[in-house]
């Protein structure tokens, strides 16, 4: 029932989205060599695209593995029985909440910081720091304050890279258009979406 309702709302919104938007990008080349096969061929010969797909797979695997094990980690390793008064939240819930809040901070900081210092450079720095913090996570004492502090810091950097990846896929669209004259936004963004699904599976 709930799923059905969400589905119907979704379809309505998709249709509205389609009817309320207008294509403003002009296609440079004519439609003469327009075929999905040719577009795919171009894409598979695009080195930056391969690098970006692999990189975003790694970045998303990072989140998938970390988040999926958290419940077990808290039950078997941390073993803290705590419920927040009033809300009834346990430690795992608080851990996820802290992570989401920090993710948001990272996402919001991304446009300004990456515009100033560059996407590629700040992406690499964010990954390096997140990697170091995660290694640190292994060595910190089994203490909830430590865990939450590290969760907060890690999630800021993990959140920071999410909008960057999207925006880098848009850069690939442009680069591809310059090379081949085809503006393959749909194809390239669905490939990014597919790499997300693959890593969550």
């Amino acid at each position: 029932m709930g799923v059905g309702a969400i589905g119907i709302i979704c379809v309505t919104l998709f249709l509205l989205c389609f009817s309320w938007t207008k294509e403003r990008v002009t296609q440079i080349e004519s439609e003469k060599n327009a075929s999905i096969k040719q577009d795919l061929k171009n894409l598979f010969h695009n080195a930056p695209w391969w690098i970006l797909v692999a990189t975003s797979l790694a970045a998303l695997l990072f989140n998938a593995v970390r988040d999926s094990v958290a419940i077990y980690f808290f039950r078997d390793y941390v073993k803290v029985n705590y419920r927040m008064l009033g809300t009834g939240w346990d430690m795992t819930t608080i851990y996820f909440l802290v992570g989401q809040a920090a993710n948001l901070i990272g996402v919001m900081a991304a446009p300004a910081i990456s515009a100033k210092y560059g996407k590629k450079k700040t992406y690499m720095i964010a990954m390096l720091v997140a990697g170091a913090l995660n290694t640190g996570f292994y060595f910190i004492p089994n203490n909830i304050t430590w865990i939450l502090i590290f969760q907060f810091m890690i999630s800021i950097f993990a959140g920071y890279v999410l909008p960057l990846l999207r925006s880098m896929f848009a850069d690939i669209v442009d680069q591809q258009e310059l090379l081949t004259g085809r503006h393959a936004t749909g194809l390239i963004f669905s490939s990014s979406s597919m790499s997300q699904k693959l890593s969550w599976a």
């Binding site: 593995v65 970390r66 980690f73 292994y138």
Partner: protein, 82 residues
């Protein structure tokens, strides 16, 4: 994915207490394995050729190209409709 890795560390769904091996697995899944992902992403990005300078050049060249096309089609319209 998470389930598969847990299975590698012999996670026992029915057990009340997990074995030391499983708990070790859970511990590295939340710390060292994500760290490895970060390193992979970092190394991958090292080879990414679209630096911000390159991206800027690309969008400038594209704009030039687009303007040219727009001018031509405007010109065509003028010729055809007048």
């Amino acid at each position: 994915m998470g389930g598969w890795i847990l299975a590698v560390f012999k996670y026992a769904p029915e057990a009340l207490e997990q074995s030391a091996q499983t708990i070790f697995g859970e511990h590295i899944m939340i710390s060292l394995m994500p760290a490895l992902c970060c390193i992979l992403a970092f190394v991958g990005m090292m080879f990414y050729p679209l630096t911000d300078k390159r991206v800027k050049e690309i969008s400038e060249q594209l704009n030039l190209k687009r303007n040219k096309v727009n001018c031509l089609s405007a010109l065509n319209k003028l010729i055809f409709f007048h």
